[in-house]
Symmetry: C2
Subunit: 413 residues, 2 copies
């Protein structure tokens, strides 16, 4: 397995401040990995509201089933995340393991089991031995603190090569609130609701329904707009928790997502989610290039999105980028296979500032040498103008390298 | 570029007999490759009927546009195929190149341009210089003979590592007729109508409409049931030509696809197309394993097909097979992402004779060692029982290896 840090990784883990009402600790429960933390217990203050989006897979993991049910209450007091085993496709054993984990965590935190949220990531199909959490979670509860965020970000990693975090501040009714988020990704990344695991926390006092509305909207342009390998995980989970602790500082309680006082918060949330989503792509297994695919001029935004996804998921486009090859013919192919309205003879394609095709044929003015030099860079922008309407969408992906094949040919065994 | 012959290649090119009414010659026109043939001229006897299926890409190549139009006549006198340049996304220049090629071929063969069919395969987006065919096609016409079939099979190759051919005999009204077909494949293989290029010839006297009906039916279980990389080509072309020469031997003329005397011919045609389609998969870029994915128990045949396609297209399933890893968790993932009705807790999954999962969890009886030994073989059968209905479909694919990435990172440059 490749262990070198992705060349696209940020220089360092960002400086995430404490979020009032949130405390956590990690431990090595020996689920699968040796010599590293693999479980996170996170305590949430009483009154914390929760929102979540999950995989659209028809075969979701047991923890996803659990979270969907627990979320109907809109309240959260704790979160348990383990890496190394996804507890997916584990039948009744899986459901029992989830129940046992929630019971152990509820006892450790002094709350009801249905106020505990769970997420697991790792191998699919292996029974998860939840008895390993006994004692471990109790111990975590005793040690829980509000820093450093690097620890939970590390504990939830699988084939990730670096921990992922993002933060932002916003003002609600003149009171500053904070947003902190962590994520893990790497492979099986083509979220249809959210990618793998990401957890975001704020001290803002926002009602669960409003929180959910904001999260569902924000995820469209962030986690749902990335793809590493077109494979949607059984375990995709993105959750947003609001402890409400800022109310003590005078922050107004917000009940409606349409509340105008949320404008700044919404923007900050969008920024945190997009930052985390980009970090997930930049740690795509074997990734060497970070690629933005923007489609404009489609008949609608959803049509633009499907075309952009078709380009971003194409193995031939992704291998061309791995080879630093400005192979726009493969972009044409991917537009064609998307099944969306497109007129070959109106297409225009650019790589970064270089327009390589226009009106359905090669742009005779483009300089192959300059384009090749551009393709050697780490950040590649592909822009396609369909020329039919005003639909626009951007999707982010990475290239497909030999390292991806190497990592995924060796992962389970 | 990898040049070693695929380890999945047949031991030798099959022995294809002449088809009365068909003669051909190949030449090196220098379209792109040096030191090899890259153009095929094929002459068809007067009275030859034609059928074809083409890519569903919204950005088809200029030759596909041409063939669709020419096919409305149902008659064929000639076929020109070149490799090295796909004449796709070439705008007006492409349409002019196609017209010029047909004119040159028509003059060489003494027929009308709209009785000439054209196919091109290779790089997308580069103008095709059709003036290179001038003289070359005239010369081919003079040399045209009915053997050996190895030559046209070679001339149409691009990144293929071996030439592909198949043949069968059938009896119509007590008279023996022959079917011979050639194909090329390699990459950009996820036909939505037909894969890349394949041409099939028979001496049976079958009307164009009946021929088209049979071909459209037969392609579903053969070329439309394979995928190398989920990327649909701009140039997919499968054509079937019937010279009718067997009528001179007393073979009855067939006008309707429903004619019962076609039963044997239909079966033989299915066999030839499936054989060619399998050969295309076995020469998938970088392929080391030939994989059959059968889904049964789905709510319908089309649902089964979509699930099978989702499994066969999944990079994570394909890299696992490359690594000889019986990673059925990824098969579950691919079932889940297909979006088709599935009940996680009824799923059963087998690799060859080894059932690894049943009732939505690991089959506790399976022997990891035996399954691992099975995965080391070249032929892998994946069988998934959805447990909901009686819908059934099989799709064939190959594994995703580092060689695929290598080949496609270097192809154009």
């Amino acid at each position: 397995m490749a262990t070198a840090v992705s060349p696209l990784a940020p220089a360092s883990f960002p400086d995430l401040p404490p979020v009032e009402g949130v405390a956590f600790a990690t431990a090595a429960a020996g689920i699968r990995y040796k010599g590293r933390t693999d479980v996170l217990l996170l305590r949430l203050a009483e009154g914390t509201t929760a929102a979540g989006v999950f995989t659209r897979s028809k075969c979701p993991s047991a923890p996803v089933d659990w979270c969907r049910k627990a979320l109907t209450g809109g309240k959260a007091r704790g979160l348990v995340v383990n890496s190394g085993n996804a507890n997916a496709f584990t039948g009744k054993t899986g459901a029992a393991a989830v129940k046992l984990t929630a019971d152990i965590a509820a006892k450790a935190l002094g709350c009801a089991p249905d106020e505990i949220f769970l997420a697991s990531t790792g191998v699919i199909g292996e029974p998860l031995d939840a008895t390993k959490f006994e004692g471990v979670l109790q111990d975590c509860a005793g040690r829980a603190a509000d820093a450093p965020w690097l620890e939970p970000a590390k504990a939830i990693m699988t084939t990730d090569t670096y921990p992922k975090g993002a933060t932002a501040k916003a003002s609600i009714g003149g009171v500053e609130v904070v947003i902190c988020g962590i994520a893990k990704g790497a492979g099986m990344i083509a979220p249809d609701m959210a990618t793998m695991l990401s957890f975001v926390f704020t001290d803002a006092p926002i009602a669960a329904e409003a929180l959910q509305a904001m999260l569902s909207r924000s995820v469209k342009g962030s986690f749902n707009a990335i793809t590493v390998d077109s494979d949607t995980s059984t375990s995709d989970t993105l959750m947003l928790f609001a402890t409400g602790a800022a109310a003590a500082k005078g922050c107004p309680r917000i009940d409606e997502a349409s509340d105008r006082r949320l404008a700044g918060f919404r923007k900050a949330l969008d920024g945190v989610l997009l930052d985390l989503a980009h970090q997930v792509v930049k740690d795509g297994e074997g990734a060497r290039h970070f690629v933005g695919v923007t489609v404009e001029g489609a008949v609608s935004a959803s049509s633009a999105r499907r075309i952009a996804k078709s380009i971003a998921d194409s193995p031939l486009v992704k291998t061309a980028i791995a080879g630093a090859d400005a192979n726009w013919g493969r972009v044409v192919m991917a537009v064609g296979k998307a099944g969306e309205p497109a007129d070959r003879d109106r297409l225009a394609i650019s790589f970064g500032p270089h327009r390589v095709a226009v009106n359905g044929a090669r742009d005779m003015a483009y300089d192959e040498e300059k384009v090749s030099a551009y393709m050697e860079g780490q950040n590649i922008d592909i822009r396609v103008d369909i020329g039919l309407g005003s639909g626009r969408a951007t999707v982010w992906t990475c290239d497909l390298t030999k390292e991806y094949v190497e990592i995924n040919g060796d992962y389970r065994s």
